[in-house]
């Protein structure tokens, strides 16, 4: 009934139902519901399959991808959009309305009135009432009765003008026929706009609904389109094509505004033109309750024609009807399943077997051959009966062609074999599957890139497909060249991919956010890997494996004299062994080993029997845990300046900051909150503390805690002031203030000074010596010591 969320494959394409086939792909597509843009669905790919029309968003494919089941939709076409109208939910008959450009087939009612009874199916209209006016002599000629605009093309014979004998252009006659039909449809008052570009209609002949549709269609997408679509307001008197905003004909002066056009509509049209982006919906209406009457696919980069054609084809074929239907009985067929290796095989077999007479021996084989030939005849005959049926049985035909080809390859080596083979392959290609390139409209750079991106998706699907397990079989990594070979082989000789396209497509994986990635080794070797498989993971698995070798003797029996501390160092491995262990190819294994070597996890050992890789015991192992941890922490992406942060500095600052915080919060005075709760000020505090002879603030913090005199040393902004002895003697001058900047009385000043002095002596005496001797156990000896020890160890390691 309405938009449904769809499942996507790993390659971010809609996952197809059984029997569903992909018909067409177009990029740069937006989505509308009714007249409103659906936010988040304005830039994506449109996938047309035999069952559904899908929209897959470019930005957030998993979230904003929807589909319309074609069985729920009748559809209409307007300019660069394809509009799909939903059928009423309880459908009594299949509603399929394709008015489009065929003016003579009577347009069906809009499904905005779903309960209204359906009109009779389109009957072929006698068009004899229509007339066309000769562009040369202006004589009104009747349109020939056998002229059908739906099927007319350049080759249709047209009678010359009855008066002057000059043949009219086809478009002219078409126009006349369509306008005639439109005039008739106006009486039904439920017509839809035909494609305005190719068949401009007289606006006055259309009903209100009609005009509405047109104006919306134009204004929502683009003013330019609106103009091009509506620019031809034909004067009812002289047929001159006027600009739509004119009120009277430029040529003859006749009034162009008929009474049937409400004035506000024109005004609305003007308004719409001024601002291009159409109104948007707030949410993506994909719940089942939503009763939007139509969904529009807006094609911003062309492709709507091909989409439309294929859509029409899909609507005619109605493959979804077959989805739940029992298999078509085929009484004439005695199907051996090896000929038709396609979908119907199993079911056909179950039907076919009971009928088959049991004939054994050579006669049986012959009989079998005869049956097979008959069946093939039948398949080919059926297929060529008409083109629609051919498309339907394309699968079978291709399977057949393949079986022929394989037979030719295996059995005959004769002179005719080669020719027959080439002929066959040609015809197979001609018949072949709808190739990816065919699914894309037109040519040119836009469709080229679309082709590549589709190829990239296809590849990603191929790689990650669990059933095939291509990537898994290769140990999660394979070279691009291998993949190319496997991929083309899997395509069975049809629609091969050129190496250049292949490489380009592989390069697109990153951009398309697909679950595989292309990686270039230092030697230039290109490999394909799962996205989640990073270098770190590879190294970790390599190291794990090597660690496991410490105890296990393995098959590495070299010279018996060559002994090393096996328990300590484990043993070295060659690329060959690695390849065997991980299921990689040898080239990939050696590249991975060298990558790990480059990261410093492994080291090499070049002996007479080749290069072996060992765990890196050359770099000092004692440093590694600390350094590894720090690097891990400070190079993990969310950290600003990841990788640049001086790890030791950080290791120093964190405990010190904590200590400072503790120390300062113990001595918080009222205004001090300003300084003491803002960590960026602590740096300064640290510096002064250290300058004052403390190893770090942790020391002075405890000093301040437990000493009686430590409480109220003269300080400024949290820093301890020097007690100036000179000041003591010059009593006349103002002494230091106790704390902050407030003034205090004489006594208080004196007291402050004494305390300040005492404090300094208390700090210096026990500490100075220690600080000159380098880090040692400080007063408290607790965790601060541990911290210091760690820091100095890290520093020493650098």
């Amino acid at each position: 009934m309405s938009l449904q969320r769809i499942d996507l494959t790993t390659a971010l394409r809609p996952s197809l139902l059984p029997d569903e086939t992909l018909l067409f792909v177009q990029d740069a597509v937006g989505l509308y519901e009714g007249k409103y843009k659906i936010p988040n669905c304005q830039n994506g790919h449109a996938y047309l399959t035999s069952h559904r029309a899908c929209y897959v968003d470019n930005e957030e494919p998993r979230k904003n991808s929807v589909a319309v089941a074609l069985r729920d939709a009748g559809f209409l076409k307007s300019s660069p959009k394809v509009t799909l109208h939903f059928k009423p939910s309880r459908r009594s008959s299949v509603l399929l309305s394709i008015p489009s450009r065929s003016g003579t087939s009577s347009p069906l009612p809009r499904t905005s009135t779903p309960v209204s009874p359906l009109p009779p199916p389109p009957a072929s209209q006698p068009a004899s009432a229509a007339t066309w006016i000769c562009p040369i002599c202006s004589f009104s000629n009747p349109v020939p009765s056998n002229f059908d605009p739906a099927f007319a093309n350049a080759n249709t014979p047209l009678p010359p003008c009855l008066a002057c004998g000059i043949k009219p252009p086809l478009a002219h006659v078409l126009k006349a026929a369509i306008s005639n039909a439109a005039g008739r449809s106006a009486s039904i008052a439920t017509s839809q706009p035909a494609q305005p570009k190719s068949t401009p209609l007289e606006p006055y002949a259309q009903s209100d609904t009609d005009r509405n549709g047109n104006i919306d269609g134009g204004s929502v997408s683009d003013p330019a389109l609106y103009f091009s679509a509506e620019a031809t307001f034909h004067c009812p008197r002289c047929t001159f094509a006027n600009h739509p905003s004119l009120l009277s004909c430029e040529m003859c002066g006749a009034s162009l505004v008929s009474s049937s056009v409400p004035a506000h509509l024109l005004a609305a049209a003007e308004l719409h033109r001024s601002e291009s982006p159409g109104p948007s919906l707030n949410t993506l209406g994909v719940n089942g309750n939503d009763t939007a009457e139509s969904v529009k696919f807006s094609f911003r980069a062309g492709g709507e024609k091909a989409f439309y054609e294929r859509l029409k084809g899909a609507m005619v074929q109605r493959k979804w009807l077959l989805q739940n239907a029992p298999p078509i009985p085929k009484p004439n067929r005695l199907t051996p399943s090896d000929v038709i290796a396609s979908e119907g095989a199993s079911s056909e077999e179950s039907q076919g077997t009971p009928e088959r007479k049991k004939v054994i021996g050579i006669a049986g084989l012959e009989r079998r051959g005869v049956d097979m030939r008959k069946n093939n005849e039948l398949v080919i005959g059926n297929a060529f009966e008409d083109l629609e049926a051919l498309m339907g049985s394309a699968k079978e035909i291709v399977a057949l062609a393949e079986s022929f080809a394989s037979k030719l390859n295996t059995t005959t080596g004769g002179a005719g074999g080669v020719e027959a083979n080439t002929l066959l392959s040609e015809s197979a290609t001609a018949l072949g599957l709808v190739t990816t390139k065919d699914m894309l409209a037109g040519t040119g750079s836009a469709s080229e890139s679309l082709y590549l991106s589709e190829l990239a998706r296809n590849l990603a699907e191929f790689l990650t497909d669990d059933a095939q397990g291509v990537l898994k079989r290769e140990g999660g990594i394979m070279s691009l060249v291998d993949l190319w070979a496997v991929f083309n082989r899997a395509r069975g000789g049809v629609e091969l991919v050129s190496p250049m396209d292949f490489e380009k497509a592989a390069g697109l994986w990153e951009k398309l956010k697909l679950p595989v990635r292309l990686r270039r080794f230092r030697s230039g070797l290109l490999v394909v890997q799962g996205r989640e498989r990073t270098d770190e993971k590879t190294i970790a698995s390599l190291l794990d494996w090597l660690k496991g070798l410490h105890s296990a003797p393995g098959g590495y029996v070299e010279n018996l004299d060559s002994h090393w501390e096996m328990e300590l160092y484990g043993r070295g491995v060659t690329a060959q062994e690695t390849a065997e262990n991980f299921g990689w190819s040898v080239g990939v294994a050696s590249e991975e080993l060298e990558m790990a070597e480059e990261r410093g996890a492994l080291c090499r050992d070049e002996g007479v029997e080749g290069v072996r890789f060992w765990e890196n015991w050359i770099v000092n192992q004692d440093d590694l845990p600390i350094r590894f941890f720090l690097i891990l922490v400070f190079t993990t992406p969310p950290t600003p300046n990841a990788g640049k942060t001086l790890t030791t500095l950080a290791a120093q600052l964190i405990p010190q900051s904590l200590a400072t915080f503790l120390a300062l919060s113990l001595h918080a005075t009222l205004p001090a909150r300003l300084y003491k709760s803002s960590p960026h000020r602590w740096n300064g505090v640290l510096t002064t503390c250290i300058a004052a002879g403390h190893a770090n603030c942790a020391t002075s913090a405890l000093l301040m805690c437990f000493s009686l005199i430590g409480n109220t040393g003269a300080s400024m902004a949290g820093r301890l002031n020097d007690a100036k002895i000179v000041m003591e003697s010059r009593a006349a001058k103002r002494a230091y203030v106790g704390k902050g900047t407030a003034r205090a009385g004489m006594v208080a000043k004196r007291r402050a000074k004494v305390r300040s002095l005492n404090r300094q002596s208390a700090m210096f005496v026990p500490d100075v010596k220690k600080n000159f001797e380098g880090p040692a156990v400080t007063v408290c000896g607790g965790w601060e010591w541990t911290v210091e020890e760690k820091v100095s160890r890290v520093l020493a390691a650098r």
Binding site: S562, E565, Y569, C603, D605, V619
Partner: protein
């Protein structure tokens, strides 16, 4: 008393990494290679100190146990050894080429400045100030030879005697290479603590 066991005959205990096969291959990773060079440098210095080698002829030494771990069947190539000596020279000044073709290296387990200090201290302690000694006497003569016995004694004590004890350090220059001695004495001359005189063969030194 039998002939003293010369230091060159004493077995040298090699460090752990000497038994790690990749240690003998030049590493390509820069960080690993730096670590490798450091360890080699330390090994060479320790080895030369233990064996009292001042002058290391690389071409011969490459076949010796220092660069060739026979039990592992791994050896350092001549080019790699040269590279390591280069690094020792450039980074820490712990080595120098005695010849331009890079075949013989002077290994400074003490560099000339340190040797100058050692000799100066020895002069001080043995009260030789103002005496004149030939260079031969200084390194090969009875004075230092007897001290050499003393050195052996301290060597039995192990690391402690060699590194920290003042007596131990005094005797270290017994059998010292002439070129290194020359350089060390030049340092002393610059410090104003000695004067070197005489011609090429018969050089003498006077300590102040």
């Amino acid at each position: 008393m039998t002939a003293p066991l010369s230091p060159a005959d004493q077995p040298f205990t090699f460090p752990r990494e000497y038994h790690f096969p990749p240690f003998f291959t030049r590493q390509r990773n820069a960080i690993t290679y730096t670590a490798q060079c450091q360890k080699w440098s330390k090994l060479i210095l320790d080895y030369c100190r233990a064996k009292r080698i001042w002058r290391l002829p690389l071409v011969d030494a490459i076949d010796g146990e220092l660069f060739w771990n026979k039990s592992l069947n791994r050896r350092l190539s001549l080019a790699d050894a040269r590279e390591i000596i280069d690094v020792m020279k450039a980074k820490e000044g712990r080595a120098e080429w005695a010849s331009k073709d890079k075949n013989v290296a002077l290994v400074y387990w003490r560099n000339p400045e340190e040797w100058a200090t050692v000799i100066g201290d020895w002069v001080e302690e043995t009260a030789q100030r103002g005496t004149v000694l030939t260079l031969y006497e200084l390194t090969e003569g009875d004075l230092s030879a007897s001290q050499g016995m003393c050195w052996l004694f301290f060597n039995f004590l192990g690391d402690f005697g060699r590194r920290v004890g003042t007596d131990g350090s005094v005797v270290e220059f017994h059998g010292m290479d002439a070129e290194v001695l020359q350089k060390s004495l030049n340092v002393l001359v610059k410090r104003g603590k000695a004067q070197v005189f005489g011609n090429e063969d018969q050089q003498g030194v006077k300590f102040f």
